[in-house]
Structures are given as C-alpha cells and as structure tokens.
Amino acid sequence: MAAIEALYLRKHFRAKVKGEGFSASLRSLVRPEYRETVAVRDISLTVSEGEIVAFIGPNGAGKSTTIKMMTGILHPTAGSIRVLGYDPVSQRQALSYHIGTVFGQKSQLWFHLPPLDSFRLLASIYEVDRLVYRQRLDDLVERFQIGGLLRTPVRKLSLGERVRCEIAASLLHWPRILFLDEPTIGLDVVVKHRIRELIGELSREDGVTVFLTSHDAGDIEQVCRRAIVIDHGRLVLDLPVKKLKYDYLNRKLVSVRFFEPQSLPAFPGVTAIKETGIAARLSVDTRAQPIGAVISALTGGGNVADITVADPPMEDIIADIFASRKEERS
C-alpha cells in the first residue's frame, strides 16, 4: 500500500489586499478587496511505505501547505489525498494515531515543564498503554540519548537537545509516517549530523516512512533517497537523490582567508565568485574537481588563515534546477 497518494491536490487562500497609506486603509474598510493566492497547484505524487522523501523548494513554494493537507491541518480546495489509506480531512483523528510530526518552528513540549511530563501527556493522548509506554520511552531514551534531559524543564534545554526530545515525543505512539518540516533549522553541524543519523535509523530499523522538508542540502544528501521539488505550488522534479546529487548537488562553496594577499591557482571546475587578494569565495564543481584537491592546493603554501566549505543555499540549487530545465527545453 502507498503511504501517501495525492492526486491533483490544490489549495487556494484568500487574502485581503490594501493599497499604501491611510486613505487606502479607509477604502479597504468600506470596500475590502481580496486576492486569491494559489499555494498548491495540482500536485500529484505517490510515496511508498518505508521511503525517505525530501520535499524541497524555495520559501513560499507550498511545502508546508502540502504537508498540512497531508496531516489534516488544512482542507484541500480541490483534489484528493490518502495517507495510509485514510482521508486526512474526514478521518483526521484516526490518521493521527499513525503519523508523527516535527515542525521545526512549533514545539509540542511544555516550555516550563520537563519533557517527561509532556511525554506522559502525549502517551495518554495517543492512548499508549502504560507498560508499553515505559518500554517505548526506554528505547527512545537510549536511541536519542536523552536520559539526562528528561527531568530538566524544556526552557533550560539547548536547541539541539530540544529537537531530540521533540522527535522522541513524535515517535512515542509508533507512527508509520514521520513528517519533518525543517527539523534541523538553527542546529549546529554536530547536532544536525546526529539528527540525520537518527532519521536514517528510524527508516532502516522501524520501516518508518519519512517525509522531510528542509532548506539544508545536507539533510537531503545524507538522509533521503528520493527528492521531490516544488516551486510556486507546482511539482517540478521528482527524482532519486543520487541523480539530484550528480546533477545539482555537485557544487561546494569554499570561503578562504589568507595571511598575506595571494593570487588563486587556476583549476578546471573552480570559479571565483569573489576575490579580494586577502580573501576569496569559490564555487567548486565536484564532478570536475574533487573538493580535497582544491583545499590541498589552497592550504599547501601555509598562507591560509581560515577556510570553510559549505553547501550552496537551497535557493541556489533550485535556481540551478530551473536553469538547467530551461536549457533542456530550449
């Protein structure tokens, strides 16, 4: 059975529009004007059970709206959707026993209380038997290494600790699908890595289907096997992450600062985005030039004060996707 099946899914929002200034405010009071925005346009997709899918797109592309329709938060304007065979609109409560959600921006833990109290409440909301809950909690505590955090009020936890507790909380009731909306937002590199490992483990060991949105190319590269790209509410690409990596995630950004001004060595596949003599920002095509070779060449002379390697922002990757699709079409 497909975990998620969406057919011509569409969502419109009606928003009030107002011109500039006070007179426009008065006009709007007497005769309000509305504009219809299409957040999601006829999206059709199928996700099989156990898949880890990255759902990516720039800000305002319709990612969160789509997830909210899949989880029953929003009602679609048109189209149909089935999640684990349930209709999220009419069977919201029945569906919610089988899905877990982590919204990076929204917490389900009580801010002033230790996570353990929130866990106990959630177990009762999801009607998890007390004994079963204890076993599940022990398992999640070990997996997420949150034993030392259970009795500390959430407000005193670091962001990384809180996210680990949030994900553990969303798994207390054995969900079959986990919706993760920007789970690594604001986390440092080490914690991001740990969260990615945990998501991978969940899929491998428990067969949980993972539907993930992220602005971090690393999340997609390291966790997901399939990527669905949307923009302006439209599905524009649906391909294996391996192919996405080869075609689009093949660029790294290298920022380097030197002790003394120096000229940059010329490399095939390396483009200088900015160069001031004392510092430079380079774009490296890893298909043409391994990143290790570039770093070795730069650091070889002992003149490097600082160097960082980063993935390009998701917006740039999406822009690349669009540029290459335009080229293909023309």
Binding site: T71, K106, P153
Partner: protein, 266 residues
C-alpha cells in the same frame, strides 16, 4: 458517545494536572497571583457596602446578600472556567496566528484540547474568592452549597462557550481578538449588577447572545425560591449554548488557514 465524553473528561483532567504542575513551577508567582486576585475582588465588597449604606434599601430589587451571591457565583464560575479552560479567552489569537496545528495533529477533539491546554493562575484566586464570599455572606445550608456548586459548573460552561463563540468568529472575519475581549468584559459586567438595571436590547442579549442572565441571575432566583422548571431551563440553555459554540467552532475550522509563526507551549 459515552466513551467519547469520558475520553474528553480524562483529557481535560490530564491537561488540568499538567497545567497545575506548570503553574506551581513558579511557586511565589502562583501564590501572589492567586491571593492578589482574591484581594482585588474583595475591594468591591466595600464599594457595594457603601452603596447600600447610602441608598438605604435594595438596589434594582437586589439586597446586599443578593449582590454578594451574584458576585460569589460570577467569580467562582469565571475562575473555574479559566482554571480548566484557560486558553478559551485566547482562542481568537490562537486561530489567527495558526496555533491550532498542534491540536489538529492529535487524535482528540480539537476544541477541547485547545481550550484545556492552558490554565490561568490568577483564576485560582477568583475561584477561591467566590467560595469564601458565599461562606461569609449567605445564610448557610446544604441546598445553597449544592445549588452553588451546580451553578458554578453551568456558569463556567457558559462563560467558556461565550468565549468559544466569540473566538471562533476569527474563522469568518479575521482577527476577532478585540471582539472576544469585549465579549468577556460584557459577560463579566452583565454578571455583577442587578438584572433589573438592564432593559430592552441589552436584556435580550443577556438572555441569548451573551447569556449572562443564566450565569448568575437565574441561579439567584433558584436559590431564593427553588423551582424545578427553572433548573431545567438553566440546564437546557447551558447544554444548547455549549452545543451551539461547539458546532460554530466546527463550521469555522473548515476555513482554518494555519500559519508559520514560531511558537512554544507554555
């Protein structure tokens, strides 16, 4: 149906305990807010005492004991409503800012979950104040306390239902926070003065749209001269008004638009 109601009551109980734990996490603040609110309410006794002293007889057909009864009932009803359903007055803001998401993701009725998810600490002071006032100003009897307890519950349900109805207007007209705040203030104001001072349209409103008359004035009639028919009317009105507010919220929920505000649960 019975199973669903009992699940809802269990959920309210769990939220209540969790909220209480959260409130007493700050012990000094909890005690200060509770006693502070009780003392704030107590100042009004002197106001009414002076007013009755000046007038030298009943005001609007109500004696001093009657006024104290409606104060006690209004205070405890409001207190109970805000202790158990402390999120109800924030409903418009919660809908407007897209904070219903968390509750929509859980296998429980959204409305019950959202209104029970928070408590008002100072409302403990309101609740306790009403009980103390009843004990100090009324001729004591078992029937008085029994009726008072029942009417505190119906009053709390009506207060909450008024807040739900006003808050749910947000689904239809955008941010109704101000309107909800006004509904709360009107409900309180209509509940702490003699019923006979309200005439015409206002009188109609307090028996229909904002049924403050059923929060305190009908219970006062019941306490002064008990009539089973009146009790039945009170229970039917409470049930119908609560059912209406649930239905109205449910209708509005279909229009919910969510949001992306960063939020925590406090």
């Amino acid at each position: 149906m019975f199973r669903e109601v009992s699940r809802c009551l269990r959920l309210i109980g769990r939220y209540f305990l969790l909220n209480l734990s959260s409130a007493i996490e700050y012990r000094a603040s909890f005690l200060l807010q509770t006693f502070g609110m009780a003392i704030n309410n107590a100042t009004f006794i002197f106001f009414w005492w002076i007013a009755f002293d000046k007038v030298g007889g009943p005001i609007g057909g109500y004696g001093f004991a009657d006024i104290m009864f409606i104060w006690a009932l209004a205070s405890s009803s409001f207190g109970l409503a805000m202790v158990v359903f402390g999120n109800a007055p924030a409903l418009a803001r919660i809908i407007y800012s897209g904070e219903l998401d968390t509750y929509l993701l859980q296998p429980r009725p959204v409305l019950v979950s959202v209104i029970a998810a928070r408590t008002s600490v100072s409302a403990w002071g309101d609740f306790a104040y009403g009980i103390v006032l009843l004990a100090l100003t009324q001729p004591q009897s078992w029937s008085l306390w029994l009726l008072f307890a029942l009417c505190v519950i119906t009053g709390a349900l009506l207060t909450t239902a008024i807040q739900i109805t006003a808050g749910a207007l947000t689904f239809f007209m955008g941010n109704a926070s101000m309107l909800q705040q006004m509904a709360l203030e009107f409900t309180i104001n209509f509940s702490i003065y003699p019923e006979s001072i309200f005439h015409g349209a206002v009188r109609l409103i307090i028996h229909t749209l904002l049924p403050a008359a059923f929060i305190v004035h009908v219970p006062l009639t019941l306490v002064r001269s008990f009539e089973p028919r009146m009790l039945l009317i009170l229970l039917v009105v409470t049930t119908l008004y609560c059912a209406f507010s649930f239905w109205f919220f449910g209708r509005g929920l279909r229009r919910y638009e969510s949001g992306n505000l960063i939020q925590t649960r406090i």
